[in-house]
Symmetry: C2
Subunit: 409 residues, 2 copies
């Protein structure tokens, strides 16, 4: 028996519906772009619920929102949460689930009169999506010290509007810190945003890490000419060379287990039916959970790009994120919680980036996934079932108790 019985699934699903009405789109989706009016309303919805539970609410200088349930040890604390901002064509679950499930776990403790051994901190980080203002995961990057306050306040959107001016306009930020707390773990419940759990008919994924990412853009330069009058042996066709390079790069995942490789954007110039292309640009998105393998994949790509070609081939890096391994004690806590609640689970790697991978640099961190229907996310059709939502929140509750109490069984 758990010290606390399972979460209130009905209340959690009601809260997900209520939050989805804030920034609701007419097509059933949600738009709460970071630092918009709807985003502020969304976080105020959470702050208000935290206040109603009698928790101490803190807001830091960039707008990260925290609610603290004091434990028997006030200083030591377990953090849980996610984000409530969305992409422009977002769904109801990405981020919102992690925040509202954390709220539900805390509410269950409050209504049971349960005083956890360590304090429990709900965190809702700002601008996880990075749609209007880059980089993504901005709130957790600031919290973990990877971005300065100046970095955040000075970030501008495409119209030149800064986050600093938006925070002032909305009276969005505060002065609070968590400097008085010793956070011993962070746990984030999230939808998978991929098809692995749904395919395997498993409700819980215990996430042991996040794959690393390497982005680059390649430019192949040749010479335009008339498609009718230019003999084949007189051509410098950038399309032929780009096609050959892409062909070789596409073959790499066959030779390297765990490598995810996407060539998502290819652009021909001048892109006319009867003109030999003089320039082709294309992007390469490489992901691997193992840092050595990710570097190896990068070397293999460079080997292909640097082989002698009739056209000039150049490449420039666009982004690089190291793979992240989550803390074994947090992973084990989540595994124990799933097992004890009787949910089938699998231990897996996250394909997408999350606040938890940023926080892993300062706190032992981990994540719990539930299935995404069709693997779809960042889309208005994003969906996770009420049963899976309840399962995920129960595992989160168990993991928090396990981490806070040493054992909750």
């Amino acid at each position: 028996m758990n010290k606390i019985s399972s979460i209130n699934a009905q209340r959690l699903n009601r809260r997900l519906e209520e939050l989805a009405r804030i920034g609701a789109r007419s097509d059933g989706g949600v738009c709460r772009l970071a630092f918009s009016d709807a985003d502020l309303k969304g976080r105020n919805y959470v702050a208000s619920a935290l206040g109603d539970l009698g928790l101490e609410v803190r807001i830091d200088a960039v707008g990260n929102l925290f609610g603290i349930l004091k434990g028997q040890s006030v200083r030591k604390a377990i953090m849980c949460g996610s984000h409530t901002d969305t992409v422009a064509t977002g769904g109801r679950y990405d981020g919102a689930l992690g925040v509202l499930a954390a709220l539900e776990c805390i509410e269950r403790m409050v209504e049971e009169g349960f005083s956890p051994a360590q304090s429990i901190v709900l965190a809702s980080f700002v601008n996880e999506e990075g749609v209007r203002f880059m980089p993504d995961m901005m709130g957790s990057l600031y919290h973990s010290g990877s971005l300065t306050l100046e970095d955040v306040l000075g970030a501008t959107d495409k119209d030149g509007v800064s986050i600093g001016s938006e925070l002032n306009r909305l009276s969005y930020s505060g002065q609070d810190t968590l400097n008085d707390l010793d956070i011993t773990a962070f746990v984030e419940l999230h939808i998978e945003q991929g098809p692995v759990l749904e395919d395997a008919h498993i409700p819980i994924g215990v996430v042991s890490g996040v794959q690393g990412l390497s982005w680059q853009e390649v430019t192949v330069s040749g010479k335009s000419n008339h498609a009718g009058t230019t003999p084949m042996d007189r051509r410098l066709d950038a399309g032929v060379v780009a096609n050959q390079l892409i062909h070789e790069i596409h073959a790499l995942p066959l030779a390297m287990d765990g490598l995810r490789l996407t060539i998502g954007s290819v652009t021909y110039h001048p892109s006319l039916i009867n003109v030999i292309p003089n320039k082709v640009t294309f992007t390469i998105d490489l992901r691997h959970p193992n840092p050595t393998q990710l570097e190896q994949a990068e070397r293999l790509v460079q080997g292909i790009l640097q082989a002698p070609q009739p056209c000039t081939v150049t490449s420039k890096p666009l982004a690089r994120v190291d793979p992240c391994s989550f803390a074994p004690n947090v992973v084990e806590a989540a595994q124990k919680a799933a097992k004890s609640a009787g949910y089938p689970f699998t231990t897996m790697i996250s394909g997408a980036g999350h606040d938890a991978q940023i926080l892993q640099s300062c706190y032992p961190s981990g994540m719990i996934f539930i299935p995404s229907k069709g693997g779809v996310s960042h889309d208005v059709s994003e969906y996770s079932s009420p049963d899976d939502i309840a399962a995920g929140a129960n595992v989160l509750l168990g993991a928090l108790l396990e981490l806070s109490e040493g054992s909750h069984l």
Copy 2:
């Protein structure tokens, strides 16, 4: 000895310069889009020169311009000419050379008091380029009966303006026909618009035909998904399938002599670095001088496109022009003229389309090419040397005399 000594190269080059001032671009190029004010001025320049020579000038219902030097047999006639419209970033020679060289040949006959055995008709066809109004080679298509008057007058540009209304606005068209003439041959002098003659250091190409053309657009449909969270074996990546198809299609010219194949336009959707492409469209431009081989190339392409694929692959034809073989007597007349004038020549196929290939359907036709610097055309940097221009015009003169007189030697 020729009955008429060679053309006046200085006069011809002066006329090329004068015509280039009409619709001159600041970068040295020319813009005389069909049915524009500049195009009308360009044709009036030619009509005025024809009138000054005492020729009968006729303008037909679509604006094709003719100048008739009456021969000993008035009814039988040899036609020569080309067009004076240009692309938007055109040069000084494409089309203009064929019209002004024909004018120069006629002027030489007039000033020598030479009365040819057959009448000589200079033709300047409208809208050869087909930039603002499609199809290209419109004037010769109308003249040869392949387009009706209604087809031409009803053709509209992207703003919905019709050729009929432009002809009215400019008082551009007439009522004349050539029904009283029996045209026995058509010869067109043109720049090569390719690199073959320049590469071979040969001033004259006698054109024995025009390669056929087959255009199609291919669409590959897959499924968009997150590049990070979607396992490789769960993808329907339209980019991977399109790349493979293009790779196989690019290999076809290696297996078929004379095939020119260009994949000039490739478009990815949604073309984002971290999204698996759900749709790729690409164009295929096939050209071959031999009709059987062109059909064989089309079959090979269809075989590649119809092989089983994980994605849906569809294709639609965009254009089809049969290869054209020019009339042996016209080709021989041009060869004789080049030989007798002492110019090195090669017999070759045209890579681009020309009015002469349209007229071949009603008159025995042929063409003469001179070198294009760097193979460049449809560009402001288009250039042919005064020596090559003089050589081409002299061969045109010789061919006209050969065709008109039976022999000009």
